[in-house]
Symmetry: C2
Subunit: 274 residues, 2 copies
């Protein structure tokens, strides 16, 4: 038996999330079916973590045991020809027997993308949350920083979470403004709109921002609730300091709404392997 790890990307738009479900329309089900078509084996995949319905992955890691003798360098291409075209195996690796995609993960990074230009970017609309008015990027960045370190994240998880502890550690959290992403004024009306923005949304900006959050583990809906609350900070409905107050309350009702799934991507998973 060999242990194989796959780096997988997917567009989660049309799936009910990562984890296998009776209906079968999940990333795990599609991957397991492709492996079955290729090797004839009914394997049980382990993912680094679940992603919700509609959430994407740039860099999900899964592993499974196989007795197939197909050479390792053939797996990625062979699986891709057996997968729908919104799931892509980027690479396949032979990994040590003890490798476990979830338990051996040191950290995971999620990215939440918000486009606050007036019109959505049509060609990225499946991967960006469109917020049609400007946001205060600096306040959001400041609020985000207050989440760094070890905290009880009860305020930032769905009430139905059954995890025994809601203490998690955020290793890194940053807001990046995408260079050149603010829509440019090309007409008289755009200039008028810019003046409008300046008068009605002082201190707020347009453009595309990415929230990168790295942690050792995440609770159910945690990144989406953080994003939804930070959007309220960006709108000026809350201050950045409120993020600390919300954390301290350990009460989901104190935080903002759960942001839409399509803005979220599992960005990277780091392991203690070469």
């Amino acid at each position: 038996m060999r242990n194989i790890a796959l780096i997988v990307s997917y567009d989660g738009t049309d799936y009910y999330g990562f984890q296998s479900q009776p209906g079968g329309n999940t990333i795990q089900d599609k991957l397991e079916h492709a492996i079955f078509l290729l090797s004839g084996e009914q394997v049980k995949l382990t993912g680094s973590g679940r992603t919700d319905a509609g959430v994407h992955a740039r860099w999900q890691v899964v592993n499974f045991m196989t007795s197939s003798s197909i050479p390792i360098e053939r797996w990625a291409l062979a699986l891709n020809t057996r997968l729908p075209n919104d799931i892509v195996v980027q690479r396949a690796y032979g990994v040590p027997e003890e490798f476990h995609a979830r338990r051996k993960a040191l950290s995971k990074t999620y990215r939440y993308t918000i486009n606050c230009n007036r019109t959505p970017d049509l060609f990225r609309r499946r991967y960006e949350f469109h917020h049609p008015t400007p946001l205060d990027f600096a306040a959001m960045q400041e609020g985000l920083k207050l989440l760094l370190g070890e905290h009880d994240f009860s305020s930032f998880t769905a009430p139905q979470s059954t995890k025994p502890s809601h203490v998690r550690t955020i290793l890194d959290a940053r807001l990046e403004v995408e260079a050149g992403s603010a829509a440019q004024a090309v007409s008289f009306h755009d200039e008028i709109s810019r003046n409008w923005d300046e008068r009605h949304y002082p201190g707020k900006q347009r453009g595309v921002i990415h929230l990168y959050i790295t942690g050792t583990g995440f609770l159910y809906n945690m990144v989406r609730i953080i994003a939804g609350t930070l959007i309220q900070v960006g709108e000026g409905k809350r201050t950045s300091a409120d993020m600390a107050t919300i954390l301290a309350a350990r009460n989901r009702a104190k935080a903002g709404p759960t942001a839409m799934p399509h803005g979220l991507s599992l960005w990277e998973v780091v392991y203690d392997y070469q």
Copy 2:
């Protein structure tokens, strides 16, 4: 009556092209329907040109006459709330009575995008043609340059074209390699793959390339046949000099295949108006 011009972007994946059809599933039909929902008028739109089924537009221009008194700055947002989310009106302008989106266009630019990394870019798969082996970018660039100027493009249009003349003028044609687009080697197997590429595809590159072609007018399927033929130049099946021979032959059978529609976007239309 006022003449209104719209700058429109669309993802053509799910439509039967720009031009109105009895089935109604076209960009023009959706735009005319949104205008009807907004103003109650059944207008007849004029587009700068048709795009085929599956072809996208970053910057299509349309115009129509209306007696509606809705202020010009309201049209874009109001139409967007009445359009499917894969069609977006970027801006609306009041234009002089004589403005005609097709007849007054000075030039149009199309972009054809080819990804020749080993795996497709999942998040751009609707807008890039994936060619899984490397291509000779320099030879393609050279072949593209031979199309510049005024030529009879009979070899580069579908045989069913009924246009009285196939003489068209290409004002600009260039190949751009997207910076940082070549997939990076991150593992031992990637390095092996790179050696494989070097041995089996000498002088060819991986990465994402964009072919930008600007002309005063285009024939049916012209850009897609040019792209399909240039891919053969990039594969080494033809030389760049063959592009001149194919032009001279005035025979569709001498050119390469019509490239897939999803790699093509109407990129820009230029008018002689401020």
